[in-house]
Amino acid sequence: MLRNSEIHDVVWPRAARQMEIAPVAPRLDTLEGKTVAQLWDYLFRGDEVFDLLEQGLKQRYPTVKFVSWKDFGSTHGADERQILADLPKTMKAMGVDAVISGMGC
């Protein structure tokens, strides 16, 4: 039986985090001449958003190139784990310098 006057020593209820904090990748000095990959989870009008970003980035950086989301497949759902596991070698094979990933909505 618990009494409100009784003092209890309670332990922390959470589990310990396991992920080591890591730095993000070095950034690019410019997008001029660089190859940008579009990674999409096939949700929330990402196809339209990528088209708009591609158009806007090309206006600012005329030599920027893109690898379409169609070349990767959905980064959400049944194929996610395999696509992300393969991503380092896929990006290397495609000469990818930077990634735009959507959509978080």
């Binding site: 332990v11 396991q18 950034r27 339209e48 049944a78 991503l87 959507g102 959509m103």
Partner: protein, 464 residues
């Protein structure tokens, strides 16, 4: 989406994540769990789903574009992270009122009073397992926390479980960590809630309710183990409302459903656990996330032919947008659930129907026109995969979805008859059923055997 960005960053490639306005906070907390607290995001104002083409263009070119350029060309600032206590650390000494206030303030509680997790109470739970208290059962996203036997016991205490429930709690957290289940999706916006089903002799040994009112709070094992599940999602995985748990509405945890195994034995139908690969007679828990349920009242008829059309109609109507889990980015992962009261199951069995027969009936009769199925994928939910024939051609769907060009052709809602789940529970003598719409790959149906400790029955007797 952030997991894809994290994979790129860890491979040395800079990223920019596109995040709608309402999800910026979630992106921040999720990034910590991915080990990249300063993962840069580009703001997409508002929500794209309600914007005209012109508004979307204005927002993306006027706001998002600058963020993307900055994210890819400027190093993001450092983000301070909070140091956690050690898992066994005594974090507070106080009265039950003070402890409950502290736990609510620190988001360690669900808002209801908790039983104080003292070392003594935790040890009582550990007496009901032969596992090492420090054994890691699973690393759980989104926080990437290591759920140990110890931490399971702590949350079992808090939930109001009895110590002898410990084997069930361990199996549940192992199931939560099953990659097929996909715990990382537990904070998604539809806010589905997990239904736990328990099978085997342990259900009766622990006095789970398996009959009238099975899904209502009122029986300690059903209720407290259900509450444990959500506390585990909170404290062991890291799903917190207004942070990583982005359910639009959500609902309270579901109490555990025990199947009526004497009836299943009597009619010769396999249990839910057996359907999921667990041997007959073994103790097991099964989990799956469901986005909602609908009660089917007063099914009538002394034969399957009379009774099943009504049940199939209700199962079909419960599944609308969820069809994106049948065709789309997680093909073939929709597993609708129909729970029959014992009298309905017995009537069907008496008329010669096996469980497999009922599943086949649901597969054959829960059908809708192809054009309507495609409308759920495209026009109404804006998914890019919309054409059933294309999916069949790409071998991402079985041929039953494209048997002709007729848009009025009737197509099934699952890939296979066996994708339908059927359970037997509830009031033995009432002719009702209940059906649940499944959340597909975002909480796929998995089962885990429950491991009892040596001397289980003696320990259980001593605990009573």
């Amino acid at each position: 989406m952030l997991r894809a960005s994290a994979a790129a960053e860890k491979a040395g490639v800079p990223s920019s994540s596109l995040v709608c306005e309402g999800f910026i906070g979630q992106a921040g907390t999720t990034s910590v769990g991915l080990g990249l607290p300063n993962l840069p995001v580009a703001l997409v104002p508002g929500h794209v789903g309600t914007q005209s083409d012109a508004e979307l263009s204005e927002n993306v070119l006027g706001v998002t574009l600058d963020d993307v350029v900055r994210n890819l060309t400027e190093m993001p600032g450092e983000v301070a992270t909070v140091e956690d206590p050690e898992p066994r650390e005594i974090v507070f000494s106080g009265t039950i009122d003070e402890i409950n206030r502290l736990f609510i303030e620190n988001e360690w509680s669900d808002g209801l009073p908790i039983i104080p997790p003292t070392a003594e109470r935790v040890e009582a739970f550990l007496a009901f397992t032969d596992r090492d208290p420090d054994e890691v059962l699973a690393i759980l996203l989104p926080d990437s926390r290591a759920a140990t036997v110890w931490s399971v016991a702590v949350n079992g205490v808090m939930a109001g479980c009895r110590p002898e429930y410990m084997p069930v709690l361990i199996a549940l957290v192992e199931a939560m960590g099953d990659p097929d289940y996909g715990v990382e999706h537990s904070g998604n916006t539809p806010g589905g809630e997990t239904l736990i089903t328990i099978n085997g002799p342990i259900a009766a040994q622990l006095r789970f309710n398996d009959e009238q009112g099975v899904l209502r709070d009122g029986f300690q094992p059903n209720t407290s183990v259900g509450r444990f599940w959500r506390l585990a999602l909170r404290n062991l995985a890291g799903f917190l409302l207004h942070k990583n748990d982005k359910c639009t509405f959500g609902n309270t945890w579901r109490v555990v459903m025990a199947e009526n195994e004497p009836v299943l034995d009597e009619i010769g139908w396999p249990t839910t656990a057996e359907d999921l690969g667990i041997s007959k007679g073994r103790n097991a828990v099964s989990i799956a996330r469901y986005t909602g349920s609908n009660l089917i009242a007063s099914a009538t008829g002394d034969t399957g032919e009379k009774m099943l059309p009504f049940l199939a109609d209700a199962v079909l109507k419960q599944n609308t947008w969820q069809l994106v889990f049948t065709i789309g980015t997680s093909p073939g992962t929709l597993r609708p659930l129909l729970v029959l009261s014992p009298i309905l199951a017995k009537t069907l069995a008496k008329d010669g129907w096996s469980k497999a027969d009922v599943k086949q009936y649901l597969y054959d009769h829960c059908r809708l026109p192809a054009w309507q199925f495609e409308r759920y994928l495209g026009e109404w939910t804006d998914h890019p995969i919309r054409d059933l024939k294309d999916q069949v051609a790409l071998r991402r769907a079985p041929k039953q979805f494209a048997e002709s060009d007729d848009p009025d052709r009737m197509v099934p809602i699952t890939f296979r008859p066996d994708d339908f789940m059927i359970a037997v529970s509830g009031d033995p003598l009432r002719t009702n059923a209940i059906t649940f719409a499944h959340n597909g790959i975002l909480g796929y149906t998995v089962a885990r055997e429950i491991e009892t400790p040596a001397g289980w029955e003696e320990k259980l007797k001593a605990a009573r």
